[in-house]
């Protein structure tokens, strides 16, 4: 009895006078049962059904204890268990005179999968992940009903203690990647980890890197597909996104819709994507090179048209491109986070007024306006968001090289980019390389998965 009181009072002391910390005494079986919990974390309905109702029905204490132990989320605690952390994780403590039980009664929040908003698919599945870890694990298990699917739970973040789940198919997974991931996860020294992108950055060894080597996705179908390709999935509690490891360049160019189109439609879509990639990457640089350095490369009529439209522009093409790129980047950046009510204003002001007026004031040539629009649009054809951002950045070194070395600079810049990308490794997997076979089954497990030799 004294023991029971002592535990309760220490807990009280540790948690202080937090208003949602509740202690409930129940007198039953001529003894005292104390329920200790944090109100805001607890699901009342569950407690009523599982704990309170049976308490009223049971005649004997033994029977009630048996009932408690038979509940799956309930377990008897040992002395070394940290009561406080259990409480904070959403457990309810049942303190009887002799035993302490913990009962997981966490209120499930945000456990409804929403519609996919970041990676849209026209014909593919429409639902994304939810913000609740167990719901997400449920979603993945439903889509990937294999007995080889392994789920391992851990926490990251010294303060946030965010629960994460590692999922992989134990038969297909690349074990080097898996052990690398498992090695890197405990090495993360960060207090608060709340977003999957944070985890991604913390897991990447190089501090200054441009291209993502892990893929963030919100689509359960993509997760299931990648599981079948032998990849490791990291789900995190509190975000509707999952991390896929490893990811290679061509993964970032694939959309989940690719599986639901007919062959030739598909070819066209993928073709457009790669053309878009090339255009958004090189067009501004090419404009500089072709107007300021090597107009003779173009056929004479075209060169004359460009020169004519640039006739009133008082400064070199480099500034022209810099201005317009700045404007369009600002437009994109501002329209991402603007509330929906103001959004259209920004695009009107930015797109129409700035573009039209800048051209009429002869600050930029009309061809530059076309190029700006083209570059911005083609950037959106890249289906996975982080890659499209990375490509946006990669454009600027090319612009710089073009303004120093002309055409030679553009080609050399592309060569350097390819060098950089082929030298990248995502957890040991080459980031960019040519391979034969289906683009969806990236790693054939029977072959040497790394492709580093042979």
């Amino acid at each position: 009895m004294a023991n029971q009181q002592k535990i309760v009072s220490t807990l009280k002391e540790q948690l202080g006078n937090s208003n949602d910390f509740k202690i409930q005494d129940i007198d039953s079986f001529r003894k005292k049962i104390v329920l200790v919990y944090i109100e805001s974390l607890i699901d009342y309905k569950k407690i009523n059904k599982d704990l309170i109702d049976p308490l009223l029905l049971c005649e004997k204490e033994d029977k009630y204890l048996l009932h408690l132990l038979s509940l799956p989320p309930c377990r008897q605690l040992k002395t070394e268990d940290n009561l406080l952390s259990l409480l904070i994780k959403g457990n309810l403590l049942i303190i009887t005179t002799d035993f302490i039980f913990s009962y997981d009664a966490k209120k499930a929040t945000n456990n409804q999968p929403g519609d996919s908003a970041v990676e849209m698919a026209v014909l593919g599945p429409q639902k994304a992940l939810s913000e609740n870890l167990s719901t997400n694990i449920n979603l993945v298990r439903n889509r990937y009903p294999s007995e080889h699917l392994i789920m391992e739970q851990q926490t990251v973040g010294t303060m946030s203690k965010t629960p994460i789940a590692l999922m992989y198919d134990k038969k297909l997974v690349d074990h080097d990647v898996l052990s690398d991931v498992k090695k890197r996860l405990p090495e993360i020294k960060m207090d608060m980890i709340q977003a999957i992108g944070q985890l991604e950055n913390a897991m990447t060894k190089k501090k200054h890197h441009l291209f993502p080597i892990m893929m963030i996705t919100e689509r359960p179908d993509r997760i299931a597909l990648n599981l079948s390709q032998g990849k490791v999935i990291i789900l995190m509690h509190g975000t509707p996104f999952a991390l896929i490891v490893p990811a290679v360049f061509f993964d970032f160019m694939s959309s989940m819709d690719d599986t639901s189109h007919t062959f030739w439609t598909n070819m066209l879509m993928i073709g457009i994507r790669y053309i878009g990639l090339l255009i958004t990457l090189v067009l501004p640089a090419l404009y500089i090179a072709l107007t300021s350095y090597n107009p003779e490369i173009l056929r004479s009529q075209l060169a004359a048209t460009i020169a004519g439209s640039r006739a009133g522009v008082p400064y070199p093409s480099f500034f022209e491109v810099a201005f317009m790129m700045l404007a369009v980047e600002m437009l994109v950046e501002s329209s991402i986070r603007l509330p929906k009510a103001i959004g259209p204003t920004a695009t009107t002001v930015g797109g129409l007024i700035l573009g039209q007026a800048a051209q009429q004031a002869q600050l930029v040539s009309s061809i530059m306006i076309i190029i700006t629009a083209f570059v911005a649009i083609s950037n959106f054809t890249i289906p996975v968001n982080p890659m499209s951002f990375a490509i946006r950045v990669a454009r600027y070194p090319l612009i710089l090289l073009a303004s120093f070395f002309g055409m030679m600079g553009v080609v050399a810049g592309l060569i350097l980019l390819i060098c950089y990308l082929t030298d990248k490794r995502s957890f040991g997997t080459p980031f960019l390389r040519l391979y034969r076979g289906s683009s969806r089954r990236i790693e054939k497990i029977t072959e040497n998965p790394k492709g580093e030799k042979g």
Partner: protein, 362 residues
């Protein structure tokens, strides 16, 4: 991975055709170029077969590792150093010629020093990457370039200015005694296989032998095409006046409906892709050989400074020589290198194939 090997072989053939080989072969067009070519096809194929066969006995080993067993240190280290310098020189010569070509065709106002300096920086970045990454890059570059090459050859053959009669005329000078200089130059075409000294760490030589017939066939085709087509455009006499006969040839071609009208710019860009790739590969092989000679381990061990310093010096020397020598003497230097290369290559192939035998007997 064997396909990457053939890509490198193809790349070598193509790069040499542009820069050096025609110069020497066309100089000797009246005294034995064709017979020299025929001989060099045989020599090149045999050498590469022996070499691939020999090196396939050491899967996943580069030359430094192989020589570690076979040769004592006082021969091994100087030999590897010498080979390394030969490789580096190949890359430097090619990039030097290319810089000159850029100056002629793309950036006439720019200082040659700046062009070459920039290209050398690109090479330094590229060649300090891992060999495996460079092999992946080879795939992209060759795949990008080859459709354009096919297009240009098609364009040339269907051009109105292409007179096959000149080719017939130059073929009348076929039956002349071959000479050493032409044989050395033409056999250089086939020398792509030699990069296996390092690439054998990543490419399985055994698989290459399955498609070995590609080497002589590809070599013959490219040699015949690239040597003969310019005659059809330029005539047998005046072709000797040009430094880059192929550039002038392609400059006669027009793409009537293209964004780019002059095909020569297309060719320059392809050259750029290929010659930078060639430079990257040769410098990487040279660097690895140098590391092997001094026993410097991978860059994982933190010795990243050595490649940068070494290639920095090499790059500086490249720019310096390009500056001091004029174009004629630059090509003379290239010729010396050519003539030196054939015996060295034969020596290397023989060493690799015969030394294990000696070991077995002992």
């Amino acid at each position: 991975m064997a396909r990457y090997f053939y890509m490198i072989v193809f790349l070598n053939m193509f790069v040499h055709i542009i820069f050096n080989v025609p110069l020497i072969l066309i100089q000797h067009r009246f005294n034995g170029a064709v017979t020299s070519m025929a001989i060099s096809i045989v020599i090149g194929s045999i050498l590469s077969y022996i070499f691939i066969k020999a090196i396939s006995k050491y899967p996943y080993n580069g030359l430094p590792e192989i020589f570690m067993d076979l040769l004592p240190g006082y021969i091994r280290i100087p030999f590897l150093l010498f080979l390394s310098l030969m490789w580096i020189a190949a890359g430097s010569l090619a990039i030097g010629s290319f810089a000159y070509l850029v100056k002629l065709y793309v950036n006439p106002e720019m200082d040659l020093k700046i062009i070459l300096g920039f290209l050398v920086l690109v090479l330094i970045y590229g060649s300090t990457r891992g060999t495996q990454s460079i092999i992946y890059k080879t795939g992209f570059s060759v795949l990008t370039a080859s459709p354009f090459i096919a297009f240009i050859i098609y364009k040339a053959l269907t051009s109105d200015y292409f007179y096959p009669v000149h080719i017939k005329r130059v073929l009348q000078y076929s039956w002349e005694m071959p000479n050493y200089s032409s044989v050395a130059a033409a056999s250089y075409m086939f020398t792509g296989y030699i990069n296996l000294v390092i690439m054998n760490r990543n490419i399985q030589a055994k698989r290459i032998l399955k498609h070995f017939w590609l080497i002589p066939v590809l070599g013959t085709l490219i040699l015949v095409f690239t040597y003969l087509i310019p005659f059809g455009f330029l005539g047998i006499k005046s072709i000797g006046d040009f430094v880059f006969p192929w550039m002038v040839t392609v400059d006669t071609l027009r793409m009537e409906y293209g964004f780019i009208e002059r095909t020569s710019f297309l060719l320059v860009m392809i050259f750029m892709i290929l010659s930078i790739l060639f430079g990257i590969i040769t410098w990487n092989v040279g660097l690895e050989l140098m590391k092997g000679a001094f026993g410097i381990e991978d860059r994982k061990t933190g010795k990243r400074l050595f490649p940068l310093v070494f290639l920095g010096i090499v790059g500086f020397l490249t720019v310096y020589f390009q500056e001091t020598l004029n174009q004629r003497s630059y090509f003379e230097a290239a010729k010396i290198w050519f003539n030196l290369r054939l015996p060295v290559e034969i020596l290397l192939v023989l060493a690799l194939s015969l030394l294990p035998l000696r070991r077995k007997q002992a």
